[in-house]
Structures are given as C-alpha cells and as structure tokens.
C-alpha cells in the first residue's frame, strides 16, 4: 500500500511488530515496577526498621532512666554502672550508655579507656524533658544517640544517654532482606518476559488476522477469509468472547453490513442514474425552455431547448446570469420577475414577445418558486412555451369573427340600400326617356344612372361578400369557366401590355359550382394581376386536376412587383387595398374569398412566385418577383368542408 504523504515519519520502534512491542512493553513495565518496588521496599523497610530501632532505643533509654532513679537519688554509682553494663550487654547494637546528673557531670558510662569529651554536648535535652534522638557520626560508624531525662516529681535529676549503631540496626537487616527481594524480582522479570512473549503472540495472532481482513476490505473484498479464527458463520453482535473476539465479530458484522449497504447504494445509484437520465430526457425532449435559477439569478440548470435557444452549451450557461445571453431589456425583465417571486414566494405567468434570429416570438412564461424545508424560496423554475403559432391562430380567429360580423353588417346595409337604389336607377332611366338626348340634363341623368349602377355593383359585391346573394350552382366545365373569363379580358389587357398565358388541364374537369360567380372570381384575380403590373407583364393561368385528392387547382401568377410580406395576412380583409382612392373598393379579394369558400374550396396567395412555377414560358421582359394565387375546388358537390380562413403560402 502506498504510504500517505501526511503520515508522520516512521521511527525505528514503528518497524517492530506489535507482538514484539507488546512483549517488550510488558517486560519493560515489569522491569520498571520490579526496580521501583524493590527500591521502594528497600526504602520503606529501612524507614520502618529505623522507626522500630528508634522505638527500641527509646524504650531502652527510658527504661534505663526509670531504673536509674533510685540509684541516682541514692548516689549509688555502682547500681548505675550495673544498669549501664546490663544494657550494654543486652545487644551488640548498643554502642554506649552513660548517665549524667542534673549538672551535666557524667556519673557512669560504658566507654573503656576514657570518655569522649564532646559526646555530652552532642545531644542536649530541652527544658521540656522530652526524649531526644540525634544521629551521630563517630567517624567509623553512625550512631543513634538517645537522651532521656531522669525525672522525679517533675524535677530532672539527670540525663540518660544510649547509643545504638544504625548500621547494625537497620542496614544489616535491610541488606539481609533485599537480596531475596532482588532475586525474586529478577526471576519474576524473566518469567514475565517469557509469559509476555507467549501472550503477545497469542493476542497479536488474532489482531494480525483482523489487520489482514481490514486490508482485504480496503482492497474491496468484504467477505471474511475462510481461515478466520473464532468468527461465527452468521455475523452477530452477541458474543461471549473477550474484547478481541468481540472486535473480530464486530468487524465481521461491520463488513457484512457494509457489503449490504454498498449493494443498496449501488442499486440506489443505478436508480438515481436512470431517473436522472429519464428526467434529463424529458427536459431535453420538451420544446419548452426550462431553467432553474438561484437567489443570485444564476442559472443552476437548463434544458437542451433553452441551451439551443441561448446559443450556448449547457455547461457554459450554468453559473452565469441572463445578461450574458439575453438582450438587456429581456434580462432586466427576467431579473425583476425573479426578485418578485423570491420576495413574495408566489408563482407568476405571463406572455412576452421576444426577438430571436430577427423574428418575433410569443412565449408563455411560467415561473414557480422552489422552497426549502424552512419554506424559504431558494430558487425559481422558469418554463417558457413558444405560443407564436397559437397567437397567430388567435389573431386569425379574431379576424374571421370580425369578418363575419362585418359581412353581416354589410349584407344588412346592402339589402336595405338595394331597394332605394333600384328606385333611383329606374327613375333615372325613365327621366332619360323624357329628356332629349344630347341635352345637358340627359347627360346628367346618364351620370346618375352610371353612378347608380356603380352603387348597385358595390351593393351586389357586399351581398356576395355576405353570401346573401343567390348562388346558382350546377355542373360546369372548370376550364371553360376560366377560358370565358380570359377571353373576356384578354383584349383589354393587351392594350395595357399585359399578356395572358394559359395552360389548362386537358382532362377538362367538371365541377359543381356557380359559373357566374366563379367567373367573377377569375376576372377579379386577373384584374388584380393586371393592376400589379402597371408597365405590363405576363399573367400565367394554369389548372391541374388532382384526382387522387378529388380537387382541381387553378393558379394565377403575375410578373408584377409582388405583395409585401406584411400585407399578405391582410390581403383578403374587406376594404383592404393598396390602390389609390377611387381605384378600388378593397372588396374584390374578400368577395372572391367568400365565393370560393362558399364552393367548399380554398384560396391562397404567395409572393414572390415559387420557383417551380411560371419559369416555363415567362417572357424575358417580365420583371418583379410577382404574386401567385392558387384556388382549389372540390370535384364533387358533397359537403366536404375546408378549414376556415385563407391558406397563406409564404
């Protein structure tokens, strides 16, 4: 195993095995204790024996003092001498003894060959008549000198002194005791070393197994080896063994539990990974823009759609702010909304319009606060759904409803105006019969008649727009209907340098419709095409039968300047016109739209003309991108309905 860098440096004792350390440690402890106990015993024995010797000397001295009282009073020096000699012969430890009177005169002593003159003053008694002990160094030995007063009736008659050899009393006895103690200590130490070695090996055998087992656990093998000593087959914490046995079994239980927990962790990890991938898949699959932002407005997570919308990978977005990706106004709006939710804790939703790649998009944004266990907002989830198409449908629906309402209004007004207009026209014609032709009055009546007819045309258009005009449908030839209209205007258009080219389906499809109204549609479309080419051009008219779909298509393409893109959605609106005042009412395409719709068909416009249309046979003089109207009508006259509203082809 590689050694970790932060471990302390090894010292030589670390290289020893634990068994050797244990044996050496126990031996050292026994050695230390043996030496300490031997020294302590020596000192305590010396102290005790010294104390006993002092007690003995005290007794000898006090006894001598008592026995000397009579002799001292009687001045019987022989009796005193006898007492001293008896004491001296009592043991070899008594070095000397002598008696002094109260004036300090030595009355008797045991010294042969003269009395040491300095000895009386060596151990003076105090006035309290207490026994006094003084250690005296004679030069050749140490002597405990005991001094006891001879007291009668509280009066000191004299002093008795006894000298005991310290070495004889204490050291000889202690030395006699210490030898066997040292021997016993040495033998105990030898025995302890042997027993400690055996014991250490026995103890460390199981510890070594535990170490090997731990190493195998570190290596990833959690099952105990088959050679495991004293390990029950089933891990259990109930054990009757010693601490190492309990440690071994506890370690076994630990590894067993660890293995179970690791299995559970692996399973949980797989489940978490699966759920994470599932969640990521869901988030990345949704077209909505989903993001999680913290209290500092930083992105914590984004889904794939948002990352693509922002134009950066997810890793580059996480941890950054809106200002790094969004326009300043949009980022500011997001920041304000985020602050409101963080402060109020309430969810918000709104529809905003943003610009992406030059186009405007409508987004439905929902912001939901994320709260922690203390009910505090810690983050905000933002989900944005692109509702541009839905908004377009909403606008178209509103427009359709507006058209319907406007049609009803126009129909009602036209119906009411039609009668008085007929009266005006009739009286104008009658008055012309009464007025001579050529007169100014006749000319005025002709103007009235002409303008009245214009009004009736407008009213008729209004009625047609509101579908209140009568519609006489019959089986008719689709191509003939187109040709009739083309023939009708071709001559006139040539005067305006507009050429009409036709390419009609040879199958001559038969449809069920009103020939007059359809012709009105065709003429209307042709007139619009001519108006789009003030300097002349080409109008291509083609029809195509699509039998499998059961429809027939007719296409009117011009080579004019085309229709601006912003006008395309409004081109079928009533009264919408780009022509000058008096040049058009803006009802032509609206009426045409109503007629085609009434026939169960559809009309669509595209500008410029798609590339695959019109190139064939186009004149070299033709200019402009042009416009193309496509009308689709069903072949049969069943109640097949087309979707409401115009099909806009861009």
């Amino acid at each position: 195993m590689k050694r970790l860098a932060w471990l302390p440096p090894l010292n030589p004792t670390r290289r020893l095995s634990f068994a050797t350390k244990l044996g050496l440690g126990i031996s050292a402890i026994v050695l230390f204790v043996s030496v300490a106990m031997t020294a302590t015993f020596y000192e305590m024995a010396s102290r005790s024996l010294t104390g006993e010797a002092k007690k003995w000397g005290r007794v000898l001295c006090e006894n001598l003092a008592l026995r000397s009282r009579d002799a001292l009073l009687a001045q019987d020096l022989l009796r005193i001498k006898n007492h001293l000699d008896e004491l001296k012969s009592a043991g070899n430890d008594v070095v000397y003894a002598f008696v002094m009177d109260d004036e300090g005169h030595v009355l008797a002593h045991t010294f042969p060959g003269g009395f040491p003159v300095d000895l009386p003053a060596a151990n003076p008694l105090g006035p309290k008549n207490d026994l006094r002990i003084q250690l005296i160094d004679t030069g050749s030995m140490l002597v405990y000198d005991f001094a006891a007063p001879v007291v009668v009736a509280d009066n000191r008659l004299g002093v008795v002194r006894v000298g005991l050899a310290k070495s004889g009393v204490v050291e000889d006895v202690v030395s006699a005791l210490i030898d066997p103690v040292v021997n016993v200590s040495f033998l105990t130490m030898i025995l302890a070393v042997v027993l400690a070695t055996v014991y250490a090996r026995r103890v460390t055998r199981r510890i070594n197994f535990l170490r090997e087992h731990a190493a195998s656990v570190v290596a990833g093998y959690l099952d105990p080896p088959d050679s495991a000593p004293d390990v029950p087959p089933q891990p259990s914490l109930e054990s009757s063994g010693d601490e190492i046995q309990q440690l071994s079994e506890t370690f076994n239980v630990m590894t067993h539990t660890l293995r179970l927990h690791l299995d559970e962790l692996h399973a949980a990890q797989r489940e978490l990974t699966r759920q994470k991938e599932l969640m990521r898949t869901i988030l990345d699959s949704t077209p909505d823009y989903v993001a999680l932002q913290d209290r500092d407005h930083r992105y914590m997570a984004v889904n794939k759609a948002l990352a693509e919308d922002l134009g950066h990978p997810e890793a580059a977005i996480v941890g950054r702010l809106d200002e790094a990706f969004l326009p300043e106004a949009e980022a500011l709006r997001n920041r304000e909304a985020l602050d409101r939710i963080l402060s109020t804790g309430l969810r918000e939703e709104e529809e905003i319009q943003v610009r992406r790649d030059g186009a405007l998009h409508w987004l439905h944004v929902v912001r939901v606060p994320v709260k922690d266990e203390r009910d505090e907002v810690v983050a905000v989830v933002r989900s944005a759904h692109d509702v541009t198409q839905l908004k377009s449908y909403q606008d178209q629906l509103i427009q359709a409803q507006k058209m319907e309402s406007l049609g009803k209004l126009a129909g009602g007004v036209a119906h009411e105006i039609n009668t008085p207009l007929g009266v005006i026209l009739g009286y104008a014609q009658l008055l012309q019969e009464d007025v001579p032709p050529g007169s100014s009055l006749h000319a005025d009546l002709e103007i009235i008649e002409k303008q009245a007819k214009v009004c009736r045309k407008i009213v008729a258009d209004l009625l047609g727009f509101s579908r209140q005009a009568d519609c006489a449908k019959m089986e008719m030839c689709f191509n003939n209907s187109i040709l009739e209209a083309v023939t009708l205007v071709r001559h006139t258009f040539r005067l305006d340098h507009v050429e009409i080219l036709t390419r009609l389906d040879e199958h001559h499809p038969i449809i069920y419709g009103d020939p007059e109204k359809l012709k009105q549609v065709w003429i209307n479309l042709l007139n619009n095409a001519r108006d789009a080419m003030p300097r002349g051009g080409v109008i291509r008219v083609s029809s195509r039968l699509e039998r499998d779909r059961g429809v027939v298509l007719v296409t009117f393409s011009d080579s004019g300047e085309g229709i601006p893109a912003e006008n395309l959605p409004r081109i079928f609106d009533p009264f919408f016109s780009t022509k000058g005042v008096g040049e058009g009412t803006g009802l032509g395409l609206a009426v045409s739209f109503g007629i085609i719709k009434d026939h169960g068909g559809a009309i669509a416009v595209s500008s410029p003309v798609p590339g695959d249309e019109g190139d064939e046979g186009r004149d070299a003089d033709a200019a402009g991108p042009g416009s193309q109207f496509v009308v689709e009508l069903p072949l049969d006259h069943s109640d097949k309905a087309y979707p409401e509203g115009p099909a806009l082809l861009s």
Binding site: P8, A39, T40, D70, L73, P116, L135, I136, D137, N155
Partner: protein, 319 residues
Amino acid sequence: MAVSTPTSVTRSAARCAATLLALACLFLAGCKDQETALKVDFDKRRELSHHVPQEGLTYAYLPQYSHPISYARHHQLVAYLSKATGLPIRQVFPATFDEHIAMVRRGEIDISYVNPFVFLKMASNGAFAFARVIEPSGSPEFRGEIIVRANNPSIKTLQDCRGKRLIAVDPSSAGGFLFPMGLFLDNGVKMSDFSEVTFPPGPGGKQEKVVLAVHAGLSDVGMVRDGTLKLLANRIDISTISVLGASQAYPGWLFVARQGLPPDVVQSISKALLALSMDDPGQAPILEAAHIQAVIPARNEDYDPVRELVARVGADSPQ
C-alpha cells in the same frame, strides 16, 4: 483506517510520561528523609573524676516508700528549709530503716523524718525530737490497723487470727507493726500464735506490699498504719479488704535532730518548720506533697506511750 497523527503521538508520549511520573512519585513516596549526622570525635577522650557532692546539712525521710516517692514528698520541704534557714541542705536516701538509724548514729544524717518507733531507737543514741506533724486527717496521732480478706470465713475476730499467716510492714514500723501488735496483745494473741510472721523484702513501699499480700492471699492477716488502704484505692478493689481492728492512737511522725547538731541550727530549722501553714499559698503545696497538715513542737516525752508499748510488745527495746 486509524492512523497515528503527530497529535496522537504527542498524546501517547504524554500518557507514557504521566505514567512514569506516577511511578516515580510512588518510588519517591517510599524514600525516607535523609537525616543529618552530627560528627563527634570519639577519639578525643579523658578519664572522668568523681563528682564530690556539695557540703551541707543532710536530710532523710525514713524509707518506708521508694526513693522517688521520698524525693517527691520531701524535696520541696528540703528546698524550703534551705531557703528559709539559709543553710545548704540536701536530701539523702538510706535504703532501709536500719541503715537510716545507723546513718543517724554515724552523723551522716542531720535531720530525720521518722516514725515514733524508729525515733525511740535513735533516741537511744542521743537524737532528739524537735517537731512533730499533724496528719492530713487533722490529728497529731495515728493508728495501726489489722486487715484481712473480707471473704475469709475463718477470720471474724482477732482471736481467729491464731494459727494464721501474718505479714507486717517492718519490725521497726510503728503503725505497721508495733501498734497492731499491741492490739493483738491486748486481745490475748501473741506473735508466737501465728503460724508464720513475715516482712516484705526490699526497700520502700512496704505498707502497700502488706495490703497486696493479703489481697493476693499470700498472707491471712496484715498489719498497716491507718490511711494505707486509701493509697491503694485506685490500684486494687479495696472492698475485698476489711479492717479487723484498729489500735489506739499514738503520737505521729516527727522531725529528729542527730546528736551533736548545733542548737542554733536545730532552732532555725524548727522555726522554719513551725512556720509552715496550709493557709500560705506558697507553703501549702510543700505540706500537701509531704502529706503533712501542719508542724507542731515536740519533745522526747511526747513518745512515752510508744516507749511503753514497745516494752509491752517486747520488740526491739530502745538501746
């Protein structure tokens, strides 16, 4: 995996040091304090000459008690006399009654405090009485008593003492021999009627030895002076001892001067003794220690009743 960090190594070392310190403390606890030895040169010696006691008057208390008791009772009195008379006086301690009498006779004891019987023996050698004491009981006289064991069924009267073992204080004792012996004679019991007559051996304490011999059953009948039983009240159960009879009262202890002691000295000492009073706080302890109530003048004639008793008993007659 547990790993030893530098901090844990330091802690381990600290624990080891603490353990060794504790063991060292245990070791040091067993160490004794070193005593300092005083050096004395034993080679510096000389032969001692005997100390000569101070010259002066000698005073002795008849050794009926041991020397320490004699000293304890009378050393204050001796000190008082020395101070009151201005004479150097020291107390000496004869071992026995006979030695005391002999020392007086030889002139080695100038002033003696003795019982009447011994006085009679001394008087034959010229010693004379000059003061006598009043006992602690307040009487200038004292008695002798005959004691037996209270539970001895064979001795109910003095006559029952015939054939019994007798112990007395000393042949020279007044209260402990002479006076009770007179009582026996008055009741018809002679010394020869006893199966055994003994005296306690050794110096001093003979009154107490008599009581202890009777109490122990070594003797059947004992003779002591009055007041002796009280001395042993705290040492034995004295209720086991009964007083079979008490003698008549005789003059008590007295102070005797040897023959030839200058009269002025005797006069000075007598004056000092007679001046002692229990009413004097400084003198009361002296009298209490000596078991003396007071001291009164005395003459040799005061002890004629004792002399008659000695003659009647047939004890050692005054020489």
